[in-house]
């Protein structure tokens, strides 16, 4: 493929991805900064938050790791704690199995960099047909990680307080999740509404029962049980009949239209 054409594909994808990451830029620069400053106050140079934000790239776990570094050396406990705190990523992976198919060299990085915010954007956005799927996912992932690493490094370098009052700014990420939830809700049918409602209600129930620190894994277990039980109502029967002819003969077969697009992404 021509270099100019390739650059065009990348640029189109960047144009589609960047606006969606602007709220994350604000949230990540701020939160990353406060994380870097926290490490600074505990006596770590900026190298530590910079490397940790680059390689761990899971916000809440990085805050937890600061405490791990200040207690007795126990790498096995650290490993197990990371598994538990980040268990929700397992469900992100299951959700993206199909979407990350055929993306070649981009795929390992997309999986590596799939934090909450990146997953929320990549799983909910309906990518326009003229935009390359692989490059769109890659830009969202890369931009979000850049914001986070920049914030953490800056915070580590500054080490002291930001001059203006930022209390409440972290709400920007709550607002992001709520808006994505609303978008999914309004663009969805009855089935998806039930899925969303299960997500909210199972989480609230487990939060009340198990408390803020331990509710995530019970909530995930509850969702799997509920979704398995409700499968007869929730599973789309149209997907099962892949080899039967489509209902409307005028409709183009989705598999043939996506084939050339897949070639581009390799």
């Amino acid at each position: 493929m021509q270099t100019a054409e390739r650059r065009g594909i990348r640029l189109e994808a960047l144009k589609a991805a960047f606006p969606l990451t602007v709220p994350i830029a604000l949230g990540f620069l701020f939160l990353g900064c406060s994380y870097g400053m926290l490490m600074g106050t505990k006596g770590f140079t900026f190298i530590w938050p910079m490397c940790m934000s680059m390689f761990i790239f899971a916000g809440s776990m990085e805050f937890v790791t600061v405490n791990l570094l200040l207690s007795a050396f126990n790498p096995i406990a650290a490993f197990l704690l990371a598994l538990m705190v980040n268990a929700r990523h397992l469900f992100y992976g299951l959700s993206m199995l199909g979407r990350f198919k055929g993306l070649g060299w981009k795929r390992p990085y997309l999986i590596f960099g799939m934090c909450d915010e990146t997953f929320a954007i990549n799983s909910s956005t309906r990518i326009p047909e003229n935009v390359d799927r692989g490059w769109f996912y890659l830009w969202v992932t890369l931009l979000n990680q850049l914001y986070w690493v920049t914030g953490a490094t800056l915070g580590g370098v500054i080490g002291s307080n930001i001059p203006f009052d930022t209390q409440g700014l972290d709400f920007v990420l709550t607002a992001l999740f709520l808006v994505i939830f609303l978008d999914q809700w309004t663009g969805a049918k009855r089935r998806e509404h039930l899925s969303a409602a299960i997500g909210i209600l199972a989480s609230i129930a487990c939060l009340t029962l198990f408390g803020t620190k331990n509710f995530m894994i019970p909530a995930m277990a509850a969702m799997i049980i509920l979704f398995t039980l409700l499968r007869p109502y929730l599973d789309d029967p149209r997907d099962e009949s892949a080899d039967t002819p489509p209902e409307h003969t005028t409709q183009t077969d989705p598999t043939t239209t996506t084939t050339p697009e897949k070639e581009h992404t390799r």
């Binding site: 761990i56 598994l83 299951l94 990350f100 299960i198 997907d239």
Partner: protein, 110 residues
């Protein structure tokens, strides 16, 4: 810092390994070359909606409902976001509006 640098690096490596295992495991169990079971396919369709719901609850998990301001700033800001978003359908406007309202509430009112 109570650890040596080497111990610190090993601790971080353990955290990276744990985190990456949670991210890569589904893709290792169900590789690209093979078609995943129908049940997994079904979970992949319904879970994104449920996980966004979980993230909303997760982001609001530390809201003090029984003490302090009883989560009134969070409630007002969320209602503002819902209203703004239903009205204009503009992601950035809804997020900026809700965050500014929340910041004003926690800094000036409560």
């Amino acid at each position: 810092m109570t650890m040596t640098i080497m111990q610190g690096v090993l601790t971080i490596a353990a955290v990276v390994a744990g985190t990456m295992l949670t991210r890569f495991l589904p893709f290792l169990i169900f590789p690209e070359s093979k078609e995943p079971p129908r049940l997994i396919d079904y979970f992949g369709k319904v879970l994104p909606y449920a996980m966004t719901g979980l993230l909303v609850v997760y982001a609001l998990r530390n809201t003090p409902i029984l003490t302090g301001d009883h989560g009134i700033p969070e409630l007002i800001a969320c209602l503002a976001i819902i209203t703004l978003h239903m009205w204009r359908h503009n992601m950035l406007l809804s997020i900026a509006g809700g965050t500014i309202i929340y910041m004003m509430l926690v800094q000036l009112v409560f």
